[in-house]
């Protein structure tokens, strides 16, 4: 909805330049709380502060930022990533929920004032939509 879009854009603005750091933190939280997610990163150094996690966190954050700028057509904006996840990465769909949850936890812990119930709802919807798009070409 229009209200959701406003909430999402406002939240992303509040995050500003921290997006990359938040992305990395969300990944770290996910690996800690949901260890099965580590199976997709056996080629990574997953220790705290790892350069690879920082880099990957920024990648994820940038992609999400791109989606925020194209809320009216997320499938088109994320089409290449959708192909990637379907044909190359093949991350089981359940894992998108884990990362989405950890993104919410990260944002909640760093921006409690902005993270109102309505904003929480809009962001949850946003991450769910992104997850659906990223798994849409799986079969």
């Amino acid at each position: 909805s229009a209200a959701d879009k406003n909430n999402i854009k406002a939240a992303w603005n509040a995050i500003g330049s921290h997006a990359g750091d938040h992305g990395a933190e969300a990944l770290e939280r996910m690996f800690h709380s949901f260890p099965t997610t580590k199976t997709y990163f056996s080629h990574f150094d997953l220790s705290h502060g790892s350069t690879q996690i920082k880099g990957h966190g920024k990648k994820v954050a940038d992609a999400l930022g791109n989606a925020v700028n194209h809320l009216d057509d997320i499938p088109t904006a994320l089409s290449a990533l959708s192909d990637l996840h379907a044909h190359k990465l093949r991350v089981d769909p359940v894992n998108f929920k884990f990362l989405s949850h950890c993104l919410l936890v990260t944002l909640a812990s760093h921006h409690p004032a902005e993270f109102t119930p309505a904003v929480h709802a809009s962001l949850d919807k946003f991450f769910a939509t992104v997850s659906t798009v990223l798994t849409s070409k799986y079969r």
Binding site: H101, L104, V105, S109, A118
Partner: protein, 147 residues
């Protein structure tokens, strides 16, 4: 059965000690109803749930949230025996309340998010991991007696 290390237990206990159960309970249930509106199906008798502010301010939501979180306190006291501790509540949720156990996971995750808003930096990945284990254990215990 979920197993908690001594460290995880003390992490959970020390955070729980600082939680205002009444406030957090209302907030958790409120956010559940706002973020996942289909969960409102169990609360037709609660009156005005028409907007986020109506939900968060609704006295029945606050009261029931407090009840739920107080009961969660039992989990914190019985981390080694979650299934027996929640046996009766499990039967209640199945036989009388007819709540899909999926909802316990949703509420558990909302609780984790609220702890994050309240405790900020203190809610580190390690602390979160301990709490994820607890909410997941409680969700499983509450679903255990379903038939």
């Amino acid at each position: 059965m979920v197993h908690f290390t001594a460290e995880e237990k003390s992490t959970i206990l020390s955070l729980w000690g600082k939680v205002n159960v009444e406030e957090a309970g209302g907030e958790a249930l409120g956010r559940l109803l706002v973020v996942y509106p289909w969960t409102q199906r169990f609360f037709d008798s609660f009156g005005n749930l028409s907007s986020a502010s109506a939900i968060m301010g609704n006295p029945k939501v606050k009261a029931h949230g407090k009840k739920v979180l107080t009961s969660f306190g039992e989990a914190v006291k019985n981390m080694d025996n979650l299934k027996p501790a929640f046996a009766k509540l499990s039967e209640l949720h199945c036989d009388k309340l007819h709540v899909d156990p999926e909802n316990f996971k949703l509420l558990g995750n909302v609780m984790v998010i609220i702890l994050a808003t309240h405790f900020g930096k203190e809610f580190t990945p390690d602390v979160q991991a301990a709490w994820q284990k607890l909410v997941s254990g409680v969700a499983t215990a509450l679903a255990h007696k379903y038939h």
